[in-house]
Symmetry: C2
Subunit: 222 residues, 2 copies
């Protein structure tokens, strides 16, 4: 059990570069909570207080984020190994802004904030990893707005999704009315509808009522 | 000299909550570089490697950030006490994305990365402050995109500036051609020109060739 936990930690960026000795000590000293989630179970709701870090170590989860006025949402898939909103455990607003649901049976490790502080006190490399992960996130979202605005409709749609996504790859479901998407990217509803249908016939997306399913976002970037 | 330095540190969010004893010890043990800048001097250029934290402890600086394609820029004023791009000393891209120039004669304190790591090792509160500052930044820029798009031209112009600014207040100069601003917010050049002129006649901004000067951004939010 302990060895398995150690193996899981080894795969997580937050524990990268740590020696096996350190990890052994961490596993024996730190209060980890191991969590098994059956497929379909929502274990974090948007707005929940974030007092611990969640690591996805096995399986996959979907994560949904809503616009502030709830008029649209984007759902993505994250696969293990992954860390869930690490920038939410400190700072001004210590709440999740995303909902996380098990897409397959999956396993998670939780570490409370107190334990995070202890680990970052004791292990310089852990502290550095944590700072690097959060700074990289801040740098990424900060640069989004300074990118030149795309010229054609297709790239506007792609940018709309990309800038609001956790990663520019994988499966995504955008729940949005066509009028709203058209409004957000400042194009006519007709032009947006035409472009989405073209993308559907190219096999990039599937359209349902009020839903755009992207099969593999990376293909749209080619 | 040491007492003055201590007083300066006391005002900085990164040292908030530390006891006078701790600060005394920090001042005597840490390698600080004190920097005096005469008015007009640029001490950080966009693209410079970020290997230290800069704290503005006296005076004011202007900070300019360019769009990725260099087609426009926004210049803001920061006054002491302030910290300059703390999210750039860790993470994927350890370079400043902004240029900083002394607006008045000003004084700064620099702390190298190694010293930052030592301080965050020794003082839990310093570590917590650092994590809180960076997380807050990440949370802020992350939420910008999920806000509903403004309905009228004036609010689109305001949002354009606000979302790219360090703070939603103070004096700002936006160097941008009217065509480009119109393109960025998806309005006609004529409508943008009309709205900017209305804002000028209300005393909110001054227009020069290729430049929009905002006198006090907070007044535009009223």
């Amino acid at each position: 059990m302990q060895t398995e936990l150690q193996e899981h930690l080894l795969e997580l960026p937050l524990f990268q570069g740590m020696s096996r000795n350190d990890l052994e000590q961490i596993v024996s000293e730190t209060k980890f909570r191991q969590l098994s989630c059956t497929k379909g179970k929502t274990f974090v709701h948007e707005g929940d207080a974030c007092s611990r870090l969640y690591f996805l170590v096995k399986g996959s989860v979907t994560t949904t984020c809503h616009a502030d006025d709830k008029s649209y949402s984007i759902t993505e898939t994250l696969t293990a190994p992954n860390i869930l909103q690490p920038e939410r455990i400190f700072g001004l607003t210590q709440r999740f802004t995303r909902t996380f649901t098990a897409k397959s049976n999956c396993e998670l490790i939780c570490i409370g904030k107190k334990e995070i502080m202890l680990l970052s006190d004791k292990y310089e490399i852990f502290r550095l990893n944590l700072l690097n992960i959060i700074c990289t996130q801040s740098q990424r979202s900060n640069r989004q707005l300074w990118k030149p605005k795309p010229k054609d409709i297709r790239h506007k749609i792609i940018r709309f999704i990309e800038s609001r996504s956790l990663r520019p790859a994988g499966e995504k479901t955008i729940t949005i009315k066509m009028e709203r998407l058209a409004y957000e990217i400042s194009e006519s509803r007709l032009n947006v509808s035409r472009e989405l249908n073209a993308m559907q016939s190219e096999g990039l997306i599937s359209l349902k009522r009020g839903e755009i399913c992207v099969h593999a976002f990376e293909k749209m970037l080619m």
